[in-house]
């Protein structure tokens, strides 16, 4: 792929046929990601996709770019390492709600506050798909599953609020079957300088009969139609803390955000290694006199 010619979103498609269940929300989530990458001028050779573990994490196989399929819950630190070591790459991280908000919850908070310039798409189906239908951290309190036969008896994680309280500079939420709206938010996330969370409702048609397409279609309130200003901190806080409404769009953006890698003064790839010790290495020995 030469960088002079604009990539088409299909260039980001691999020739592997997804094994997702027919109708799974992840199809739409992935299409939007590919479109957003192409629309923002990226191509597979300068893009690095990090995927988590879960049905959602399989996305790395179905897309085409430089990519790494991590271990469960650790995708964000992987993405952090990629971006810091080569800030010229477009880094996108994708995974499920279990991956990101359960086993990876610690990393999530720190990735948010570290504010490395990358886009994190969480394919939130409010259930564990790949392990066949257990409760996830975003499952409702009364959601009955094999591991929560009488409901979870715990209040769900509110990812947007968690991110906001950790100091997020970009918070978006989308619905995978709203193709245009979803891609548009991811485009903005890509263009944001800093860590951008996009929580994407990506229904599991096999195991979740509560948080269905119909449910989301009815429940969703489109922020653009509401005339919401994401740069208005107070307005954003109000929407983010309103746990009873499912908003889509960009909820919050700090336009003054500067990615961590820039704050560290990193701008070039670290891939060059001299054939011998780097110039000036003798000084390191001299320091010990």
């Amino acid at each position: 792929m030469s960088s002079e010619t604009q990539a088409h979103f299909t260039d980001f498609k691999s020739d592997k046929q997804p094994t997702w269940c027919p109708g799974c929300g992840d199809f739409g989530t992935m299409n939007g990601m590919m479109k957003a990458l192409a629309n923002t001028g990226n191509d597979p050779d300068n893009t690095f996709l990090v995927a988590g573990i879960g049905c959602s994490g399989k996305i790395g196989t179905y897309m085409h770019s430089y990519a790494l399929h991590g271990v469960h819950g650790r995708a964000l630190p992987l993405g952090t390492g990629v971006k810091l070591a080569n800030p010229e790459l477009e880094v996108m991280v994708a995974g499920g709600d279990g991956d990101g908000y359960s086993i990876g919850a610690g990393h999530f908070v720190h990735a948010v506050r570290r504010n490395v310039d990358m886009t994190y798409v969480v394919m939130d189906n409010r259930i564990y798909g790949l392990t066949k239908g257990q409760a996830s951290p975003t499952s409702r309190e009364d959601f009955e599953t094999s591991t929560s036969p009488e409901g979870t008896k715990q209040s769900p994680v509110h990812p947007l609020a968690l991110a906001f309280s950790a100091g997020a500079t970009f918070i978006g939420q989308t619905f995978s079957s709203d193709a245009l709206g979803h891609a548009a938010v991811i485009e903005e996330a890509i263009e944001h300088d800093g860590f951008a969370l996009v929580n994407t409702y990506s229904p599991c048609v096999t195991f979740n009969d509560v948080d269905t397409y119909d449910y989301f279609r009815d429940a969703i309130v489109d922020l653009e139609e509401e005339g919401h200003d994401p740069t208005d901190y107070e307005a954003a806080r109000e929407k983010i803390m309103d746990f009873d409404t499912v908003y889509t769009g960009v909820l919050y953006q700090d336009e003054s955000s500067v990615g961590y890698e820039k704050r560290l003064g990193l701008s070039e790839s670290m891939a060059d290694v001299p054939e011998g010790a780097p110039d000036g290495a003798d000084d390191l020995v001299r320091e010990f006199y």
């Binding site: 992987l78 990629v82 810091l84 006199y289």
Partner: protein
Amino acid sequence: MPEDLNWAIGGEAGDGIDSTGKIFAQALSRAGRHVFTSKDFASRIRGGYTAYKVRTSVDRVDSVVDRLDVLVALTQRTIDENTEELHDESVIIYDGERSWDAEIPEEVVGLDVPLKSLAEDAGGAIMQNVVALGAACAVADFDIEYLDSSLEKRFGSKGSKLVENNQQAARMGRDYVYENYDHDYPYSLETTDEDYVLLNGDEAIGMGAIAAGCKFYAGYPITPATAVMEYLMGRIDRFGGTVIQAEDELAAINMTLGAARTGARAMTATSGPGIDLMTETFGLVATSETPMVIVDVMRSGPSTGMPTKQEQGDLNMLLYGGHGEIPRFVVAPTTVAECFHKTVEAFNLAEKYQTPVYLVGDLAMAVTEQTFSPEEFDMDAVENDRGKIVPEEEIEEWLDDEGHFRAHANTEDGISPRALPGTANGAHMSTGLEHDELGRRTEDTEVRVEQVDKRNRKVETAREREDWSAREFGNPDSGNLVVSWGSNEGAIREAMAEFDIDARFISVPYIFPRPDLTEAVEAAEETVVIECNATGQFADLIEHDTLTRVKRINKYNGVQFAADELAEEISAVFDGVEPEVTA
């Protein structure tokens, strides 16, 4: 060996023991004397007792001995902790004006020096340790100007006034001893024109990493590995790199893996508990065939064990840790200087074979400050070999019929091509799932076997191509064979030399792959394997390789071997007496 002097300063944590000891060690090094330091954080008595010990000689010193000649005691506990090491010519410098009633053992010379009030006269009580250093100069007949120079190095950045005050404080300590005591001390520190460098194992690892072109380091603080991170912080950025303090070890190894996949030479360092946490991702590093260096600076385990104590107990974990079967290299430097060289080598092995490398240090080596000729860290001799990175022009050769890059191509030597992100047409995905040549998930039985064999074949290739030799000392024709790994080398060498032990000594810096010792063991009448752990993990490997029973000397009380102690134990083995295991 001409006279060596064993000096120590001890007190409570927070008394500035470490920095004072370091200043003295530095002064000795500037005077062209060799230095070998050790740190003692005692566990016999609860609390903050800490001591910094310096052994110095004009000849090279590679170990500690159980003898103390000059002791600066800031607390009674310092004396109590070291009673056994004192002898009838030992000198204790203490401050009788302090609230404790010093009990000086009878046969020992006690020098009561008003450290605190002299320091106050010189400009501040905080300089009492420096007064003690001056007093020590008088006792050891050591030219105070060398101390001046190391005080300048320590405080120079904080202004000349501070340096002068400290130099003055040192003189007051020295003069007090001259004026108030007329003992004839049996110590005299000869100086030479040599210019030595003084550094510890963690610093040598950090310096080796920079020399090897490492630019990315992510870690989480843990004793005794933190010093690697602290060394790199503020230095690696001069060479275009960065250090990240991650939120935990899981994040640290994953950040390092992310960086390594972009093509950066990347490293993380931790100690046992951190290795435990990293083990899951270690499997991903290996199956995704990502070059990476993971440093384990061992301390006493299991669990949180004894964080400030020496042990070599992680060997089995490094060799076998992780589910499934994982090809890896395990390299274990045997001296502080080797920490530098083996770090450079670790990066080359990692990249040539696209395999993770465990670099194993231990607490004794990590905190030991030792002098070397600067030539031992010859930057001109560093060679960095990046292995099979495919440049843009050659990418075609590695594409399949449909234009996909074969990132895990099944080659004869087991090593696949590597396309760094940004390389046109090299885009591919890697996964911890079993995968085909393209990196795509597979459960095909044949491909599975092919990929497992391919990854393992790299080790065979490396066995053939690399020099996995060991370091040899002593009498090559002796029927007595001593084998060891890690930081015990110095103490064993000295035990053999000083106490005339006739033996062939093989110090092994590679654990996997490792040199074949079958011939050596078969040729020997008696073999003894020396290591700081309870079960003899390395001895087990030797027995496994050579199908011969070996004797063992194990120590696992948290303290490194001392030369004199080892001399007795080794002699006992070769004289047919079973050694007592130190518990």
